[in-house]
Structures are given as structure tokens and as C-alpha cells.
């Protein structure tokens, strides 16, 4: 039984000779690799790299808000001086139903894109080393395993846009398609003693037939599927309040996902949360 866990903490270092020759690191129940979108980086640009996770069938890793259990994947970058890495640009997650418990994350192949700001002082003709330490939790419906690995990539610095990395292009295209676009809608979320009522209005609202809604922040709304309806050019979503909500945030960042499409199309919308009604104020002060 304990042999299942022998590979936990396994550290694999992959060093590629150029941006295109990244190679997969085999990890328990999947493979991961670090890829660059372009074969060279130009000084002073925002370049994109990504950590691709290929999950074995039946296994998944987690979104920034993992849901009822799990942990989000974490990346720690080691970059040359004056290079900066952004946060993961999280693709829209999938909802996993674990018998009344819900997790948000990814199965199959997913690329977690990250922007790298290349300083204008970067010297064309040189090559830079990008290294990342990735940590994740990979789970099936039966068992979870924490995993980690270190990945590295060498990218030449050259003037001009640089050729697309042909191998990685389809995954970057898929990840881009799964990035929530900022929605032009407006709305609000109202918090009562045990639930959150969300209303959105605006142009080109998505079809509510196969719509799902996630909060980027954990422990605000319950992780069970919201009840979503539409009326008079509005989307109305009802969801239970998380019993682990402590301090009420002033706004909710919501991801709407039209799950009828593969990959799903997603939008991001930020709505004010509250105000908490006066009659409920005492309840929250007591939390």
C-alpha cells in the first residue's frame, strides 16, 4: 500500500537545449513540461511560457479555487535578473462531482500559461535560463497524491517577434480559448444569512442552459452547482453561502463557463458583494 507513495517528492530536472526542445517529466499519474510559446524572446516584450500537465485518464489537478477539497497548482519561478513572471493565467476549470462534493480543476491535457516580462536590457544573441518549481495535488476519485518537479528551459534572446514554437502552439491556442474574457456585463451579488443571490445584465449574455459559475476566491459561495436562470435579459444565479465564509469580501470575481462547448467558452465578471443587510450585521460580527 505504501509503495503507492514512494514517488511522492520525486524531483525531476529537465534541461532543454532550446525553447523548442522541452521534454516531458514523468510524474506519478501524469507528465509535465515547461514550454515557451515562441522559439526566441525579444528584449522588452511580454513573452509567454506555460506548464503543461498531461493527466493520466481518471486523474485531475486543481484550479486557483480547488472547491471542496484539493489544492491549487503552485509555480515558483527562478529567472535571470530583471525578468519577471506573472501569476498563472488560469484557464476555465471543469467541475468534478465527487458524490455531492465538488472540485474545480483540469483533466486531460492542460497548459497553465504565465507571462514573462523580458527586460529591455536583455542582450540579443544571449540565451536565458528559465526554471520553475511546480507543486500540485493530483487526485482520482479514490486517492490523492501531492507532486512536485523542477523544470527548466533555455530561450535565446533575439530581436523581432520570434517564430512560434510549433510543438506548443496547439496547447497555447487551447489555453487562450479557455481563458475567461472580461465580460461587459454589470450586476451585483447580495448576501443573506445563508445564500448569495447574483444578478447580471448586459448585452450578449450566454445561454443559461449549459452554464456554470465559479468564484475565483474559495470559501465565499458554496461549491455545489448554482441554480441559474434567465429573465428579461438578466442572468440570475442562486447559490448557498459557504459555511467557511469569514470576512466578507467587497466583491466577487465570477467565472461563467458555457460548458456545452469543448473547450468551454468562459467570461470573467467582477460584481460588488453585499451590502450585508443591517438585520444580519450581528450575525457576521459574531463569526
Amino acid at each position: 500500500m505504501s509503495s503507492r507513495f514512494h514517488s511522492v517528492g520525486l524531483l525531476l530536472v529537465t534541461l532543454a537545449t532550446n525553447a523548442e526542445a522541452a521534454s516531458w517529466a514523468n510524474v506519478p499519474h501524469g507528465r509535465v513540461e515547461l514550454v515557451a510559446e515562441r522559439t526566441t524572446f525579444a528584449p522588452g516584450v511580454r513573452a509567454w511560457v506555460g506548464v503543461e500537465i498531461a493527466h493520466d485518464s481518471g486523474w485531475h489537478t486543481y484550479w486557483i479555487n480547488p472547491g471542496d477539497s484539493g489544492l491549487p497548482t503552485k509555480l515558483e519561478w527562478k529567472l535571470p535578473q530583471d525578468f519577471h513572471a506573472g501569476e498563472i493565467a488560469w484557464p476555465v476549470p471543469k467541475r468534478f462531482d465527487l458524490g455531492g462534493l465538488y472540485n474545480f480543476g483540469y483533466d486531460g491535457n492542460v497548459l497553465l500559461p504565465v507571462a514573462i516580462d523580458v527586460p529591455s536590457s536583455a542582450r540579443a544573441g544571449s540565451a536565458i535560463a528559465i526554471a520553475v518549481s511546480a507543486k500540485w495535488l493530483i487526485c482520482s476519485h479514490e486517492i490523492c497524491l501531492p507532486g512536485k518537479t523542477s523544470l527548466a528551459l533555455k530561450v535565446p534572446i533575439a530581436n523581432g517577434e520570434g517564430a512560434a514554437n510549433a510543438t506548443a502552439a496547439p496547447m497555447f491556442a487551447k489555453a487562450r480559448a479557455m481563458l475567461p474574457t472580461i465580460a461587459p456585463w454589470h450586476g451585483a451579488a447580495k448576501l443573506s444569512a445563508d445564500r448569495v443571490h447574483i444578478e447580471l445584465s448586459g448585452k450578449d449574455l450566454p445561454n443559461t442552459a449549459k452554464l456554470d459559475i465559479f468564484s475565483t476566491a474559495p470559501n465565499v459561495i458554496d461549491n455545489s452547482p448554482p441554480k441559474i436562470s434567465s429573465a428579461n435579459n438578466r442572468i440570475i444565479a442562486e447559490v448557498a453561502k459557504s459555511e467557511y465564509l469569514q470576512s466578507v469580501p467587497s466583491k466577487l470575481t465570477l467565472i461563467l463557463s458555457e460548458t456545452a462547448r469543448e473547450p468551454p467558452i468562459a467570461w470573467k465578471v467582477e460584481v460588488p458583494l453585499g451590502p450585508v443587510l443591517k438585520t444580519e450585521a450581528g450575525f457576521f460580527l459574531n463569526r
Partner: protein
């Protein structure tokens, strides 16, 4: 520039509201009673421990988060400390992974709780909204729920995070023993999901 949000709150009343499958218990409210059988076949109810502080710990010995807290000695140490002070510590296995073997495994991992209870159909886990292993509930001597959530403040499977984390059970038990207020009443539960 910013347009006023259009809100028609009356519409909410007309909507049937979908409740999550898992029930919810509420801190500072009475903890619901239950009866479960321990790994030796002995029946225990929460009510029989009235007058004592009770810790409920959801457990699955094969979960790496549980292993982190047992193999490091963190939970066994807290169990020994609590039970020495008269606190009842009930370790509960819920759902399809719960077997009598789990109790043996728990003991082999250093478990020092009062009893290992089996909740194979998950009814008690669902009653409490237990979603992870570990997941902790602390009930005071009057039967009131005083804490629910994570075993500590850093959601991770890394043992190295233990020394930086706030351990919520000893903190809650100390507050209850001194008659003081419980400062942190809930926190995010983290770990593997309970296999309902």
C-alpha cells in the same frame, strides 16, 4: 461612467433554491447528535459524552494529508494531550473507504484517539458537512459546536509547513478549558475529499 447595476431582487423570492447535498452545522449552535459503531463493534453516541469536550476528526489513513499529520506526530501528539485532559477525541471514517482496517492503520500511524468510528454510509459525515480528511469539529461540554474546519492554518501536504502553521485544535481546547472565547471559530478544511 459606471452604470448603476440593474437589480430586481423580488425575482429571487420566486426561485426555488437548490440546497447542497451536504447539511451544514453552524458554529455556536448545538452540534447534532449521532450514533456510530467503533471498530470493536461498540456503539457510541455524541450525547453520551455530554459534560465533556469532544473533538471529531474525519480520517482516511491512505490520504497523504492525513499521513502528513500522523507521520509527523502532529495529530497523535494533539490526541494524547487532549485525552490526558479529559477531552474525548473521536476519529471518524466516512464513506466507501471506511473499513475496520482503517482503525488498525490509524493505530499503526500513531493514532491515540478515544475511539475510531465507522460511518460507511456517510450519513454522519453528511450531517456535519465533512468534506475533507482531515476535517475537524470541536464541541464543548454543553454540546455546542465551537470550531469547524482545517486541522491547521496552512493548506498543504508538506510536512515542512507544520512549524509555521497555527494548530487550531489545541488553541480551541485551551480557550474552552479556560472559559475564554474561541478566537478562530472556523477555517478552510483542506485535504483529500471524503469518498461519499
Amino acid at each position: 461612467m459606471q452604470r448603476r447595476p440593474v437589480l430586481i431582487l423580488g425575482a429571487a423570492a420566486a426561485l426555488a433554491f437548490a440546497l447542497p447535498i451536504l447539511a451544514k452545522v453552524v458554529v455556536d449552535q448545538p452540534a447534532p447528535d449521532f450514533t456510530l459503531t467503533d471498530s470493536a463493534g461498540k456503539s457510541h453516541s455524541l450525547a453520551e459524552f455530554k459534560g465533556k469536550t469532544v473533538v471529531l476528526e474525519w480520517n482516511n489513513p491512505e490520504c497523504p494529508f492525513v499521513m502528513k499529520h500522523y507521520e509527523s506526530g502532529n495529530i497523535p501528539h494533539q490526541q494524547a494531550d487532549a485525552t490526558a485532559k479529559g477531552v474525548v477525541w473521536l476519529t471518524i471514517g466516512s464513506g466507501r473507504t471506511a473499513t475496520a482496517d482503517n482503525a488498525k492503520q490509524n493505530k499503526a500511524q500513531g493514532g491515540k484517539g478515544t475511539a475510531y468510528l465507522l460511518d460507511k454510509d456517510g450519513a454522519v459525515g453528511k450531517l456535519y458537512g465533512a468534506r475533507t480528511t482531515p476535517h475537524i469539529f470541536v464541541i464543548d461540554s454543553q454540546g455546542m459546536l465551537r470550531y469547524m474546519g482545517g486541522i491547521d492554518s496552512i493548506p498543504s501536504a508538506d510536512r515542512s509547513d507544520l512549524k509555521k502553521a497555527t494548530q487550531f485544535v489545541p488553541q480551541t481546547l485551551a480557550a474552552l478549558a479556560s472559559g475564554g472565547a474561541v478566537n478562530v471559530k472556523s477555517s478552510q478544511p483542506y485535504g483529500c475529499s471524503v469518498k461519499y
